[in-house]
Structures are given as structure tokens and as C-alpha cells.
Symmetry: C2
């Protein structure tokens, strides 16, 4: 049986003869007695295995190396120890796979940098047991949230022929033999007959589905070929992009708040042991931070109000806050502290936002919203979309966009256009928030960054 099955009803198994398998994650022994901490990775909680001279192969057990896989048959008993309620009194311990002596993940402190170099082994370490189980739990929370609320899960295409959003540098995808190219590229000979890239966002395609199903969301990988080596940038990351018809910006903020609280509550409920571990060893105060979020009310202010607050703050800024401009990390931090919680900042200057955002009557701002959360900064970015054909065309022309390329997108404004809104949330940004781990490389199983594409 797997350990998560045991923990679900451990009391029922007391006195029973059971057989479990897993890896040795701790081992101490004396002449009379030995203790093995067994984990099969299905929960944070390990099973203490006790063996003594009554155990079949007592003599050999002490020499089984750390990291080996074993199968243990024995009787589950109540434990007298302080750290566990039950333990397994072993009748028989069988080695399944011996761990070689050069095992790099010996039980001592390792740096995160070292662990990244053994990304195929690090999920066995406690930190990554916690992080990647939370990654899984949070993903399930997201699917459940949208499923319960009548959304259709939409798989946006990964391969695209256009960079309509201009959201970032792109990777090119090709089947042309690069070593045979000679200064000229004939894309008609490429797999798709034209130049093709990896998607930077599924939003525009999601809008087409929102015009058919009203409520849709994407949850899939997106790519940026930005040459940034920061703690928050990766070339490959997962995004959630909900898109909702018959929904204005105020209703969108309701959804963002509701969704985030659902994910956090769900994770608190389904990954409590993992969060407590991280709270203790990685990010003190983590559980409190998450519980506070669920109880908090999110503030809603305009960009203009934020700039006024920042300008009136008795504070020396590295970047002076300005109306009409973007805000910086230091401003984000100040604002969430100022309001003691998450803050929606709305109605941004149109020139620093994307073409598809709904234009306000002032001619200067758009109905965009960024959600700033305490300690982590921007977590989601969204907007009401411009549903008026003429306004959208005018804006696209101002920006010298190719209208022909975008005909399909414009069609949505000609055939039964409706008020609609959507947002994007970087999944890894959410995980950094949920785990308190501060480097994106440590919340992705196999992170891809400039110069790094191993395994």
C-alpha cells in the first residue's frame, strides 16, 4: 500500500499486518534496535519503521545505505515516540534497489544552486517534496475552481504564426536544416509554410472561445526568449488566462479575488503539511500570510490615485513616481503596505498597455487592472477588452499593426460583439507566493533559462 492510503485511515490499521514500500530517508541503529524513516513520496509524513532482533534479517538491515528502496512487512502499532502516532514493527525488510555510495543527495544541508544541478534527484529532498506537491495541488485547485463555475478549459495553440500582442521576444520553431541555410530563408519550405513561433500568450485565441462559451480559461505553457537572468524570469512557464463574456472590469476583479482566495484556501486545506514545513524551514510566517489573504478585502484604486499616494509619501524613491508612467517594485511594496493587503490598481495610462484594452472616455487611460499582493508584487494583469470595432481599428492603426493578420480577431467585434474581460496569471508567480520560495528556478521541475536546458 502507498503511505497516503495509510495516513488516510491510520487508526484502522493499528494491529494489522501490512506491507509498504519506499525509500530510506533516515536511519539510525544500535545493537539491539534500529529505526528507519520511510517515505514513498505520496505525503510529507514519513513512516517510522522499527526493527530489532525479532526482525527476520536483523543483521543485514543496519547496513542498507541511505536512499535505498525497501519493502517492509510488519505490524502497525501505536508509537511511544513524540514525533509520530504510529510506527511499523518490522517482521521483514527486503531491499528493492540499493543506493550507490556516490549518491549526491546525502542527508546534509545542500545549497539550492547545487540541487538545481541535480534536478533529476532534487524532488526527493524535503523542500522539493513540499514545493512540487503544492504545485500539483494548486493546479488542481485552479481546474476545480473553473470547473465548478461553468468555465470551459481551452487549450490555446502553442505554435503560432504571429506575435500579435507584442508581449515579448519569441522563440522561432522550424524544421529547416539550419546548417544548409545560406543567408536566405525560404519559409514556404518550412513545416507550416511560414515563419512560426512559440506562443507568448493564448489570450487572443481565448477571446474567440469566450465569444462561443462565455466563460473559458487556458492553463498551459507559454514562452519568452528574454535574455534575463533574474529570480522571476524563465523562458518556459505556465499561464492561466481566463476570458469572460458579459463581464466588465469590476466583475473581473470579483472573479480574480474569488479565484485567488479559492486557490489559497484549497492549498491550505490540501497541502497543510507542506505549508507547515515551508513555514518552519523556508519562509517563516507563510501560513499566517496565506490565512490573512483569505480573510482580507482587496482594495481597488486607480493608477492616478496610486501615483498621488506615492507622491505624498514621505519617502525617498529610487524611481520618482509619475502620472502616465508605470510603477516600480518599490512602489508596489509601498502600496500593499499602505493598504495592508492586496490592491487592484485600475485605469492605467493607455500608452504603457496593450492595444486590445478598453479605452476610457478620458482618451488617456484604459480599463486595465493589475493585482498587487503583499511581499510578492504583481500577481495578475488583466483588462476589459475593447469590444467596439471602430475604436479598436483606430487604436491598431495608431500602433501601425497589421490589420489583415488580425482579421479573425476583428471579426469578434463584427459578429455579435459583447463586453468581455480577462486576465493572466503566471502559475510560477503564484507558486512563489504560495511557497515563499523566492527563485522561479525552484518552483519549476526542469527550469529553462538563458544557457540552461538540461535533462
Amino acid at each position: 500500500m502507498y503511505l497516503h492510503e495509510l495516513w488516510e485511515k491510520e487508526k484502522d490499521y493499528i494491529g494489522a499486518d501490512i506491507c509498504v514500500s519506499g525509500w530510506i530517508r533516515g536511519h539510525r541503529d544500535s545493537k539491539e534496535l534500529g529505526f528507519i524513516e520511510l517515505s514513498d513520496g505520496t505525503s510529507m509524513k514519513r513512516l517510522q519503521v522499527v526493527y530489532d532482533k525479532d526482525t527476520e534479517n536483523f543483521e543485514e538491515i543496519g547496513s542498507i545505505p541511505f536512499g535505498s528502496s525497501i519493502e517492509v512487512q510488519g505490524i502497525l502499532v501505536q508509537s511511544e515516540g513524540k514525533n509520530q502516532s504510529v510506527e511499523l514493527k518490522a517482521k521483514r525488510v527486503k531491499v528493492l534497489g540499493k543506493c550507490d555510495a556516490d549518491y549526491p543527495l546525502q542527508p546534509k544541508r545542500h545549497t539550492k544552486e547545487f540541487l538545481r544541478s541535480i534536478a533529476h534527484l532534487r524532488p526527493r529532498a524535503n523542500l522539493f517534496q513540499a514545493v512540487f506537491r503544492i504545485r500539483s495541488v494548486a493546479a488542481l485547485a485552479i481546474h476545480e475552481y473553473f470547473g465548478k463555475n461553468g468555465y470551459v478549459y481551452f487549450h490555446a495553440p502553442i505554435l503560432t504564426a504571429s506575435d500579435c500582442e507584442g508581449a515579448g521576444e519569441m522563440f522561432e520553431v522550424t524544421t529547416l536544416p539550419l546548417d544548409k541555410l545560406n543567408g536566405k530563408v525560404d519559409y514556404t519550405k518550412d513545416f507550416f509554410g511560414k515563419r512560426t513561433n512559440l506562443t507568448v500568450s493564448g489570450q487572443l485565441e481565448a477571446e474567440t472561445f469566450a465569444m462561443a462559451f462565455s466563460k473559458v480559461y487556458t492553463f498551459g505553457p507559454t514562452f519568452r526568449a528574454e535574455n534575463s537572468n533574474t529570480k522571476t524570469h524563465a523562458a518556459e512557464f505556465w499561464m492561466i488566462e481566463p476570458e469572460i463574456s458579459f463581464c466588465d472590469l469590476d466583475e473581473l476583479m470579483d472573479i480574480e479575488e474569488d479565484m485567488l482566495k479559492y486557490i489559497v484556501s484549497y492549498t491550505l486545506e490540501h497541502a497543510k503539511d507542506e505549508l507547515l514545513f515551508l513555514d518552519k524551514f523556508q519562509s517563516p510566517g507563510l501560513v499566517q500570510k496565506l490565512e490573512d489573504l483569505v480573510r482580507s478585502t482587496f482594495t481597488r484604486v486607480t493608477h492616478e490615485e496610486v501615483i498621488t499616494i506615492l507622491k505624498n509619501a514621505n519617502q525617498k524613491w529610487e524611481f520618482e513616481p509619475e502620472y502616465g508612467e508605470d510603477i516600480h517594485k518599490e512602489h508596489e511594496t509601498y502600496i500593499t503596505e499602505y493598504f495592508h493587503g492586496p490592491v487592484f490598481i485600475t485605469d492605467w495610462p493607455k500608452d504603457i498597455k496593450a492595444f486590445y484594452m478598453k479605452q476610457n472616455d478620458d482618451g488617456k487611460t484604459v480599463r486595465a487592472v493589475d493585482l498587487e499582493v503583499p511581499l510578492s508584487g504583481e500577481l495578475m494583469g488583466g483588462s476589459q477588452r475593447e469590444e467596439d470595432f471602430d475604436k479598436l481599428v483606430t487604436r491598431m492603426k495608431e500602433l501601425n499593426m497589421d490589420l489583415d493578420e488580425m482579421k479573425w480577431y476583428m471579426d469578434l467585434r463584427r459578429y455579435g460583439s459583447v463586453v468581455h474581460s480577462g486576465f493572466g496569471m503566471g502559475f510560477e508567480r503564484l507558486l512563489i507566493y504560495l511557497t515563499g520560495v523566492d527563485n522561479i528556478r525552484d518552483v519549476i521541475p526542469y527550469p529553462r533559462t538563458p544557457g540552461n536546458c538540461d535533462f
Copy 2:
């Protein structure tokens, strides 16, 4: 309110003054009376809107074009019609977005080929309302199944530097300026400093996580640059790849059977209207086929037994069945008919299967399994993995594989190796089975095939 909310408790709303929005999907009127079929895409079921001279803007309503978006306020009443239990007696009908006269999706029969050319509009058509809602429901079923059973959802990397499995032709990913290449490629200047591709399978990386969490699964996009224009091939498709430690081939088949029955039952429960629609207009007998599957027992036979059955069949084959060789479509069909249901075929000739599969003692076969289902053929392929370091090395050397490249994969056999197994299921192949739609281009929102990368 959205229509799915109305249908959830329609009886509670009878007599209530409600406001709904959606698109006109049907419209007929006379001098005294008019009927609109309203859909917001949150369910297959449309709401019948009735308007007459008591409706505020009666004169205008008749001229609102098909496909327009409207908001209707009125009283929900019991319907006297045969086709619906309730209808909305309109007080007021407001046009939100008028549909232009050149709307290509007029209410008449369209070919699937034509609908593919307007992939941004086709989700509004009934067929695709059904197909893409089933796609979403099935995806949720998969996540729920694995979540309930203690699996960790693992995001395999999309960008990889190796084609270890040799599973198929690959797309290359680069940031090098193709038009400046001159017969030589310096990959040290590329984004990752080496040649990089889109993944063809996340299995090998999933194995590393199975050695840490015991039960894991992937669910993400995979890519093949195969130049095939068939009904079942796409360049971009989604795969589910579970990988389970402490699990042999027999237990793996239990899981495959259990999972498939769960998905089918879940879809029958949560997408009944969609399946009934497809049963009626697309694939007669569909619901019966799915209900039969849930009740059936899957047969388990070896490849050798299958060949014997085929050879003894009184049948003229296009391809003569042979021991030691793969089987063809015609054989798959015969075998599922022979056993009146799904068939697991195990223990395949090693030379036609992948290097990582567990070698049987006969020296000729491996512990591989393909699942064949009636009417759709192969739905899943899996195997027990070779967990023995020496046997794996020997096999890889026979196949002239680069052992250095694969050191991380071999490590799994040195540091606490365990019996483990896994399988892959193409999500679109499942959808073809679930919907009865026979072309992969019609179960993917924006299909990518040779020469096609639009939107």
C-alpha cells in the same frame, strides 16, 4: 445570469423577473409573436425567448440579425411547447452587438472543411459546442481521477536538448537569426547554448519524479514534425503520461482500465446533453458504445497469442500477421471484435519497442502493453520500465545510444531503483473515441498540421 446557472435550478426561477444575455442562435417571428433561441454557450440547452406586442420594443426585435448578442429581461414561465420546459417571456430585448450581414456561420449546413477555415467562429456551431465542452469535461475528469488517487501532477519540460526516446521527428527551437546563417551553425550563440527541440514525450522526466513521489502524471502538449496528412496526426497535441513506482505491468493495466472507465463515466454524467447531441447528429450509437465500455471487462492477451488468433482467422489480410512484427489497423479491428471489447495486448517483440521497456526472460519480448478499443484502435501504450542498471546499459549499447547524454536517466537505476511502469494516452485520440468525431482537426481548437498554422 449565465444560462448554466439557470438550468441548475430552473424550477426555482419560475415566475421570477430575470435578466440573461447571449447570442441569437435561432429566430422566427410573425406579426403577433416571435421566438428567439438564446445561447450563451455555457450549456447545450438554449433558452426560448418569447416576445409579443407587450414587449417594450416589439417592432425592432424582429429585425435583429441572427448571431447578434442581446440582453433579455423578462419573466421565466412554464412553456407549453414540447421542446422546452420553461421559456422567457420578454419585457425588454436590448441589442448588445449587432451581427454583420456577411456572418459566415449562417444557420444552414456547413462542411467540416469550411468550418476549419473559420476556426475562430466554429466553436459557436452546435457540433463544436459539444466537442469542445467534452474536451474540457474530459480534461477535468483526468485531473480529478489522478488527484483523488494521490498522484502528483508534473509539468514536463516542453523545450529539451535531447531526443532520447527517438519517438519521432522533432521541431527545432532557436533564437538565431536564420537569414544570417551561412552554412554553419554556432549553437553556443543560441538561447540555450545548444541545439534545442520541442518535446515528443515527457516520460523520461516523469520517471525522475516517480522516483520521488511514487505516483505522478503529466498532461501537456507534445510535438511531432511528421509530414503526415492523416485524420489522426497533428503536429501539436496533448498527452497524458502517468508513471508509477512500485507498480508492475499487471497493476498498470488495472490503472489504465480504471482510469478510462472513470473518464467515460464522468463524461457520461457531466456532458450528457453533448453526447446525446453527437449521438443524434454525428455518431449514432455513441452513448451505447460508451456505456458498454464502462460495463465491459478488458481482455488481456499476449502479442504472440494475438498473432496466433489472427493467423487462425478465416480472413484475407492486406498485411499478413507475423510473430515478431507489429500489427496493423485491420488486425486491431479484428481483435477487439473477436473479444467483444477492449483488449490489452502485452509482451511485444523487443525490436519494435523502445529501449527502456522491461526485458522478459525469453530474451525476445518486453513487458509492453497496448490498449485496443473497439472502433478506435490503439488508445494507450505503456510498459513496465527496465529498472535493472546492467540490463538497461546493455540494451542502450546495442542501440548505439549516447550513454553520457542519458546519465541522469541511468542514475535512477543506481540510487534506489524500483519496479515502475507507465503509459501514454494521446488526449485527442481519447476525444475521437469520446465524441465519435473522426478527424483530429475537429477536436483541437486550433489544429496544427503540415502547412497549417493559422490564427
